[in-house]
């Protein structure tokens, strides 16, 4: 699978898992997408730990410092997995894995080159001592506990969007 095919597969699988997935070229296009997706009146958590996050933070209107009170979380994620359309968050670089869990809208920024083609590729990339929390996330929080009827947004986000940046 070449790079283009990997990205295409990721976008397809993420959409199948009810995540909004789109592809942009470069940080400027990404920032435009972020401001389009995040309504101005929402409280947004964005840790601004990376270049991409700082570019996103610049266009966010109402930023809050804690993820617990945020309605939206905008953050760069560590990796993507094309096979399943998943994104990966972990307790590294001082990041809180709950930032992808508590707010009801999670907007993930993913560099295209961090997408692994398969689950095997991703798990083989994990070497040495692991961080305390690794979360492989595929679509929004969901349940089918009542009559096997799908309901979205139980304890985690009811909406997940991924912007793939190449």
């Amino acid at each position: 699978m070449n790079r283009e095919e990997t990205i295409a597969l990721f976008l397809e699988k993420a959409a199948l898992a009810a995540a909004g997935a789109r592809r942009v070229a470069g940080a400027a296009e990404m920032a435009a997408a972020v401001s389009e997706l995040v309504a101005a009146d929402l409280a947004v958590y964005c840790p601004a730990l990376s270049e991409l996050e700082r570019a996103a933070a610049a266009v966010l209107v109402r930023r809050v410092s804690g993820y617990r009170d945020a309605e939206v979380s905008v953050e760069e994620v560590l990796a993507g997995i094309a096979e399943t359309g998943s994104i990966v968050c972990a307790s590294v670089e001082g990041r809180a894995v709950q930032a992808s869990l508590l707010p009801s809208y999670h907007l993930a920024l993913l560099l295209a080159e961090k997408i692994y083609p398969t689950l095997d590729d991703f798990f083989q990339s994990l070497r040495g001592a692991l961080p305390t929390n690794i979360a492989v996330i595929t679509g929004p929080s969901r349940t089918a506990d009542i009559e096997l009827t799908l309901a979205i947004g139980v304890h985690g986000p009811e909406r997940l969007d991924v912007i793939v940046i190449s």
């Binding site: 001082g94 001592a129 692991l130 305390t132 979360a135 089918a144 309901a151």
Partner: protein
């Protein structure tokens, strides 16, 4: 052992279940939905049979080297900051967890879904000691409100319809009645959020424990599993000895099989890997992690002829396709685990004397074997248990006599021939005397048996 085992009443339980119309409707819906979803999910996997072979092989390797893998897991988990405890039986595990909570002054614990905790009757034990335990999985929460036990290992409240859940929420939570699953889900989200953020401890199970890294692996959809394992300062996880997978590289095989077999998903919304406690520079993770590794009879099963049962990864696919489970539901089995895997595991874990009526809860159709992602030979295992039941003298006297008589008759062609003639002759009498319960279930003897019609 969970105290309230009623497996000995399986026949009575089952007879009552088939009279319960809402249960029958719920089970029918579940069976159809599960069947369709599972088939669709696996249609995208071209080499399913090879994948099942591989999964079975890995699980067998774990069983063959279990003590070494447990040692490796324990030492790696300890290195990552966890404290590992081994519990020989259910009582030991319960006491251990209660002591951990008490020593730390825990008043309220948020709990993720764990069948092992059901197996050891953990909630009742903690609650009796004054600790509030809140089930946070939606299905588990529903049955906790109702004071019931799970009737399915994946979808615990599968026996309830939306009207029943709506009524329960309205009565117990004081919310306006709704039967819309989306609305009910939102109500649970609101109630539970508060609990997560204020819980002193999180209690969870795990789907797998990775020997190589000392990590716990949890497959969840709702996000409650992530909450209870990472938000409270104290996390207690209870797993049974056979949950081990050797390496991280083994995970993809099980990620491809478990969610597809369980719910027909290509992967669950969340897959959490938890490795030890919060390390320097980390913003999240429990400050204290205790792993309770439960044996509860498994080492003994491992030494016996039914050891392959321990390959089970708890996907629930066997119950979804089982004609008996689909008819009577999970509660009839009378203990923690229902369906084909449940009848075998219950008998092995609780003993034949406590559960022998369960070994009849199968038509031996083999649908469970067809779907099992790790190729557990459930039908041969059920047959072994049936033999054991007879050996231990627990079968019905009339059944035993009948079988002995039949056995003798089929060994002698003359006797068999006369048996056929005589039964035909006496059939009107048998039907009159036997009533519908006996004669109604027997096929009417034919004048010319099949084997005489074939040249």
């Amino acid at each position: 052992m969970s105290e309230h085992q009623t497996s000995l009443n399986f026949r009575e339980n089952a007879a009552a279940a088939v009279q319960n119309d809402s249960l029958r409707a719920a089970m029918r819906n579940a069976a159809d939905t599960f069947g369709t979803r599972r088939t669709a999910a696996f249609s995208a996997i071209p080499d399913l049979e090879a994948l099942r072979d591989k999964a079975s092989e890995i699980r067998l390797k774990v069983l063959d080297n279990l003590p070494a893998y447990l040692e490796e897991f324990s030492s790696n988990a300890t290195r990552a900051g966890a404290t590992v405890h081994r519990a020989g039986d259910a009582a030991a595990a319960r006491e251990m967890i209660l002591a951990l909570l008490k020593e730390r002054g825990v008043r309220m614990a948020a709990k993720g879904k764990s069948m092992i905790s059901e197996e050891i009757g953990l909630n009742a034990h903690l609650q009796a000691a004054g600790i509030e335990v809140v089930e946070t999985d939606l299905g588990e929460y529903i049955i906790q409100l109702e004071g019931e036990t799970p009737s399915h290992i994946i979808v615990p409240a599968i026996h309830k319809n939306r009207q029943q859940v709506g009524k329960l929420f309205a009565e117990r939570l004081g919310v306006p009645y709704s039967e819309d699953p989306q609305v009910l889900t939102k109500i649970a989200r609101k109630v539970m959020r508060e609990k997560f953020l204020t819980a002193d401890a999180g209690i969870s199970g795990a789907n797998f424990a990775i020997a190589q890294s000392g990590s716990l692996v949890l497959f969840t959809n709702e996000g409650n599993g992530r909450m209870v394992t990472s938000v409270p300062p104290l996390h207690i996880a209870i797993i049974s000895v056979e949950k081990i997978l050797p390496r991280l590289a083994d995970l993809p095989t099980f990620i491809r099989l478990l969610p597809r077999s369980a719910t027909g998903q290509a992967i669950t919304s969340y897959l959490s890997l938890i490795t030890g406690t919060r390390k320097e520079g980390e913003a999240t993770g429990a400050r204290e992690l205790h792993l309770v590794i439960l044996d509860n009879g498994r080492t003994e099963i491992l030494a016996g002829e039914c050891r392959e049962m321990l390959k089970c990864i708890r996907c629930g696919a066997c119950m979804n396709v089982c004609p008996v489970y689909r008819t009577v539901g999970g509660h009839a089995y009378g203990w923690t685990y229902p369906g084909p895997m449940g009848m075998v595991l219950t008998t092995l874990l609780t003993g034949m004397k406590q559960s022998y009526p369960l070994v009849d809860a199968s038509t031996l159709c083999g649908a469970c074997v067809e779907v099992c992602p790790v190729r557990i030979p459930l039908v041969p295992l059920i047959l072994k248990l049936r033999e054991q039941k007879v050996r231990e003298g627990l079968s019905d006297t009339k059944e035993r006599l009948g079988m002995r008589f039949f056995g003798a008759a089929v060994k002698t062609p003359e006797l068999f021939y006369w048996g056929e003639r005589v039964s035909r002759l006496f059939w009107p009498l048998i039907r009159t005397l036997g009533g519908k319960d006996v004669a109604g279930r027997l096929p009417e003897p034919t004048g010319r048996p099949f084997h005489r019609r074939v040249p």
